[in-house]
């Protein structure tokens, strides 16, 4: 079984239904399938070991993804926002690759390499010309996708997802053909992000039309969502923040009554932002998805009913769930463990471990799976009494002060309740007395409340060990383009 089967089934069941809208052109499932089979022929001739995409989102992404699967080589979308030196390093790691997208840049960065390079238009035209739509879906069991992790803490790792991982994820989370004919998902995450790949496969299998937004911009997103009558959308928190900002008080907002569902994930969602979004999109169902590249996307989710229940509840435990990532999927096992690997009870924070067919936990160089097939995510978190998962940052981010483990997230959450604090990050700094001590970096949206007031706030809401020894005010905290806080940059700010 390989992922090409997902598109083949869509093309067999509804050949003439539009599966993709991009740059004003509609593609039916039959046309997408035909182009994917043509892409497989082009790839097969190239004698390349990888198919890479160095481009914004377009029809070339699903065509190359499925074409690579049909021929049996990994699809490897690259982050076109990387600096030249970093990108050159990745290009060297996938040689020889068939590369689609920025021809000039590849030639400049890898002049002597044996890559075969096509512009998007040339590749798509060739794929359409060489279509062999009668062919069967493949039966490849190898690597479907290779994604370089964003490397917020170290050099990028080449995470690999096998066909079995991605097919298990789709079969476990999506019902074939579940979408009504008018349904359409607005996809604005970049193609090199796991959410961008999962969005393509999920929508194809649900027979939900994909509206591809090549590069995210809040005004274009709002316009496209309204014009194409999007019923679903996936956003990362920074995108939602910019959409909410662009909509202002909502008085000039277009009619969004068709937008039935917004899913979000890929980073920490500030509760205040979520509450504003819930107000601006009162008819829309919100779903929070938690997942990693190494787990083929979503492993836990907080559904629309749970959002509403939490939004309306007076019970602080239920209300707090707006800040949770929900419950594990039925096909996923999830445990919280301490540093010795002991499983922790509800309420105690530790490292999140997951297990399931969709979990690869594998890198080119090695597998990170441990005994029993469990994957240590390096994310820290805890489960509440009813099994709702709360994240508290990366396990590596935990501050160890005098033997006590402190999650940056708990401090950041309290800081964000202050009306003058726009954003906050807590990290550990070296301390002669404690080993590590808490330092915070904050961005303001009002007058500086004063260090004494901040320290009192933390002491009153948490406890004295959480009180920061250092407070630094900056214009804005450092994020990568997907909205991930760059903690190593935060530490650098404090060190300088």
């Amino acid at each position: 079984m390989d992922i090409s089967l997902l598109l083949k089934m869509a093309a067999d069941a509804e050949p003439d239904r539009v599966g993709l809208t991009c740059d004003g052109r509609n593609w039916t499932y039959a046309e997408l399938w035909a182009a994917a089979t043509g892409a497989a022929a082009v790839i097969s001739r190239s004698e390349c070991t990888h198919v890479a995409l160095l481009d914004t989102g377009s029809e070339a992404a699903p065509i190359a993804l499925i074409g690579a699967a049909l021929f049996g080589v990994p699809y490897c979308p690259l982050n076109y926002r990387l600096a030249d030196a970093d990108l050159a390093g990745l290009l060297a790691r996938i040689e020889p690759a068939l590369i689609i997208g920025d021809v000039e840049r590849v030639q400049r960065l890898a002049p002597d390499a044996t890559h075969k390079i096509y512009s998007r238009a040339d590749f798509v035209a060739l794929a359409e010309k060489e279509a062999q739509p009668e062919r069967e879906a493949g039966e490849d069991e190898g690597i479907a996708v290779q994604l370089f992790t964003s490397g917020t803490t170290a050099a990028p790792k080449a995470a690999i997802l096998r066909h079995s991982n991605l097919v298990s994820y789709i079969l476990g989370t999506v019902e074939f053909g579940a979408a009504e004919p008018e349904e359409a998902a607005l996809v604005s995450v970049p193609p090199y992000h796991i959410a961008g790949i999962a969005a393509l496969l999920s929508s194809i299998y649900a027979l939900r039309r994909i509206i591809l937004l090549p590069a995210f911009d809040p005004a274009v997103w709002i316009d496209l969502a309204a014009r194409e009558k999007a019923t679903n959308a996936f956003v990362v928190p920074t995108m939602l923040s910019r959409i909410v900002e662009a909509l202002g008080d909502g008085s000039d907002a277009p009619d969004f009554s068709h937008l039935k569902a917004i899913a979000y994930g890929g980073g920490r969602m500030p509760v205040e932002l979520l509450l504003r979004a819930l107000d601006l999109f009162p008819e829309t169902n919100f779903t929070n998805a938690y997942g990693l590249t190494e787990t083929s996307s979503t492993v836990a989710l907080l559904g629309p009913d749970e959002h509403r229940a939490a939004h309306k509840s007076d019970d602080p435990v239920v209300r707090a769930r707006l800040g949770s990532v929900g419950k594990p999927l039925p096909t996923i096992e999830l445990e919280i463990r301490d540093e010795d690997g002991k499983v922790l009870p509800a309420g105690e924070a530790g490292e999140i471990y997951v297990r399931g067919d969709q979990v690869s936990g594998e890198y080119r160089e090695r597998s990170a799976l441990i005994a029993g097939g469990w994957f240590p995510t390096r994310d820290a978190g805890y489960l509440d009494e009813e099994g709702y998962l709360f994240l508290s940052g990366r396990a590596d981010d935990v501050i160890v002060r005098g033997g006590e483990n402190i999650s940056p997230g708990e401090i950041e959450d309290v800081l964000l309740t202050h009306p003058c604090i726009a954003d906050a990050a807590a990290v550990g700094i070296p301390s002669a007395e404690w080993g590590e001590a808490v330092a915070i970096v904050i961005a303001l949206k009002g007058a500086h409340p004063g260090e004494a007031e901040i320290k009192t706030l933390i002491r009153d809401r948490l406890r004295s060990s959480r009180v920061p020894e250092r407070i630094l005010v900056v214009e804005a905290l450092p994020y990568n383009e997907m909205g991930k806080l760059l903690r190593r940059e935060v530490r650098r700010l404090l060190a300088s």
Binding site: M1, L5, K8, M9, D12, A13, A137, E139, E141, S164, L171, T173, V174, E175, F176, G177, A178, A185, A195, A198, A199, S202, A206, R208, N232, F234, A261, A263, G265, N285, T287, A289, G291, S297, T298, L301, G303, P304, L329, P330
Partner: protein, 97 residues
Amino acid sequence: MKAGSKLKSAVDDTEVLLVKAPAAGVLACGGAPMVAERTGERGPIDPAFAETTKMGKRYTDAAGTVEVLVIKPGAGSLSLDGVALQLKDAKPLPSSD
């Protein structure tokens, strides 16, 4: 039979993907054992197994020892050792991507 392989009905158009392979037993469609590749002429569909298979649906037995996904529908219906497979209830999840 192993998980991930494709099987075809010998007597109708049905094709399935084996999501979970049974430890033992004969998987049949339309009353005839399913095959990796069709050969020769199609036999008749057993009227006792003619309830059709539905595109994109999953079928399983009561004990959950086997699970198949229909990737091409047909006129026959599925069975394991002569016992009809049941349509698996889909637990709808909200779309998360």
